[in-house]
Subunit: 338 residues, 2 copies
DNA sequence: TATCCTTAAGGGTAACTTTTTTCATAATTA
DNA sequence: TAATTATGAAAAAAGTTACCCTTAAGGATA
């Protein structure tokens, strides 16, 4: 059975379309008698106003488009949760798309959003496109007066609202923490070295070293891609020097580093302390449980959604950048303070 | 700058809207001269046809709506991947929504989809709504000639295409496996006891017991909700009898059971063997790594999407139910065969 | 009584944007 | 002159709502 429209109902009763519309919307202009008949029929036929037509008419879709680079990353899942919560509270639906770290996919999605399908866009840049730092599709969207809020992976070359994590501060904080529990040589394993996030965390690491007068040694930094063999790179690292602390720049890599280190006979945390980023499920259940930096993903999502909805309602305000602080979740992969 | 429309361009050149439309679509009816001018202007102003208008015109959105109960479950993430892949290959976008196991949220989403926003729906039922087994909103969708494919958590009371996992077979298979490696008392920990999936897996378990002449003991079955204290329930279980094998009905519960069992001083797999469902990241990185049932989530997603797209193109075919077999991934949480 | 006003109950049309089909005008050709 | 071609305008269609219009009846006023 095809979807029933106002037209169909109008034909059935031999009245005009506008009469049916008014009857269904309970207008005082229609007699009670006719109203009840039409409403009953509409209910029976499961009439539902066509959203496309309404959106076109109202020039508003009550929908927010979201682009995240990677759904296997717990942080982004948390952010998504926060966005959904706030969006739903405000009567917005969300369309979520995964860019899968691909610039091309991202562009495709943005073009879809730019064609009138959403009232606003929330996005975290794919590593690839953050690397290239060309954001034509994104700028098009902003240019067409569709509000955009970037979170986490942002670009200075895009003028819009932003919600960022204080990644430099976090990198600084955990490096200091490792130094304070007695780590001399601290390595960094970075699978997102070309994203702003990865860079800032490393910068914080360097800042802490400097503060303690420890020289920076590039050989302690492992930048890797999916293709690289972590086990091999780690073996080089562990043979190079005695390492007392390792920072994993995201959750999965921290867990994998833990695996490799354990497999090579080191004791965690007695020989080597490990700290990772993102407080997800993985780090909680591995043995020993990992000390992690929590970025409060859900809170970030909420803030992002609030910022966007506020901008949809009040265009013209100056752009804002909110910085969300991180917290350190100390568990069993770091030595206790001496 | 507001989005530019055909009307705006027409006004700028003092020609009609249809002329602009034809010029942009490179029609032979428009002189080369004018065509080039209009095309250049359209490009400059980043003209993009309004999708809402097109969708309304064509009565097709090239969009698929997806509803999953829980995005923290790796299985659903995998399925989503598979759906996205096939959908994109066929030129479809997807809108994914999380029902969060809530019947109300599910209904809200379905009503959104039922209002002309999508060409088809893919869904796995929320535990709550599978429990109540009332599917008004879903039936409305089907009744309005919008094709639906259910996967994993399905209902016999809804007539549509389906893709299911052979959960009974899987429950049977792993129970037999545990019996064969010497487990006498096998417990089941089930956090989704009211979903079809949870029930079928338990049924498979019972079938295996029966085959080996082992009496079914209800005290070995723990059905729990989020509110329940796993640690407490496990302590009752472990004090009740000597348990040699435990089946965790999903990945997270299997990992949590492992934690509790280890914390209580048991050796896995020497004292107790553990098998879980869903091959995600968690089970891979815990110690010992867990033996799991893989449901081939990505493949299920691909099949589901193919089925839906096929139905969109060919309505009227008889409904189909595809069953996907599982595989057992043996790792370190189960004793080796004696 | 004639005129005006009000009210009830609907009808009609514009608007949102796009494409397609049909129609009109001018210029060109036979 | 008649027929053809090129070029573009006009209208219809998709589904909905908001706004204005129409008709008839009844009451009020002078």
């Amino acid at each position: 059975m095809k979807k029933v429209t106002l037209k169909d109902i109008a034909a059935h009763f031999g009245v005009s379309i506008s009469t049916v519309s008014k009857a269904i919307n309970d207008s005082y202009e229609i007699s009670n008698d006719l109203k009840l008949k039409i409403q009953a029929y509409a209910k029976e036929k499961h009439y539902k106003p066509n959203r496309l037509a309404l959106n076109l008419l109202n020039k508003s879709t009550k929908t927010i488009g979201v682009v995240v680079p990677n759904i296997l990353n717990y942080f982004f899942v948390q952010v998504l949760y926060g966005i959904e919560k706030v969006a739903n509270e405000s009567g917005y639906n969300i369309i979520s798309c995964i860019s899968n770290e691909s610039s091309a996919k991202e562009t495709k999605t943005l073009e879809f959003f730019d064609a009138g399908t959403v009232d606003g866009v929330i996005m975290s840049l794919a590593e690839e496109s953050q690397n290239e730092d060309k954001h034509e599709a994104l700028l098009d969207v902003i240019n067409n007066d569709i509000p955009v809020v970037l979170f986490d992976r942002v670009s200075d070359n895009v003028q819009c609202d932003k919600v960022v994590v204080d990644d430099l501060e976090a990198g600084y904080k955990i490096t200091k923490y490792l130094i304070n529990i007695g780590c001399k040589n601290i390595a960094v394993v970075n699978p997102i070295s070309s994203s702003s996030v990865g860079k800032l965390r490393l910068l914080g690491y360097k800042k802490a070293l400097e503060e303690f007068g420890i020289p920076f040694d590039p050989k302690l930094i492992i930048n890797l891609t999916i293709k690289d063999d972590l086990d091999l790179l780690m073996s080089f690292l562990l043979n190079y020097k005695t390492i007392e602390g390792i920072i994993g720049i995201d959750e999965l890599i921290a867990v994998q580093v833990l695996q490799v280190v354990k497999a090579r006979g080191y004791n965690v945390p007695n020989d080597i302390s490990i700290i990772g980023f993102t407080n997800g499920q993985l780090s909680k259940y591995v043995t020993p449980s990992l000390t992690m930096v929590s970025q409060h993903g859900k809170y970030i999502g909420e803030q992002t959604a609030r910022l966007l909805i506020n901008r949809i309602k009040n265009p013209g305000l100056p752009y804002e950048t909110k910085t969300v602080k991180t917290s350190l979740l100390v568990r069993d992969s770091t030595k206790k303070v001496e």
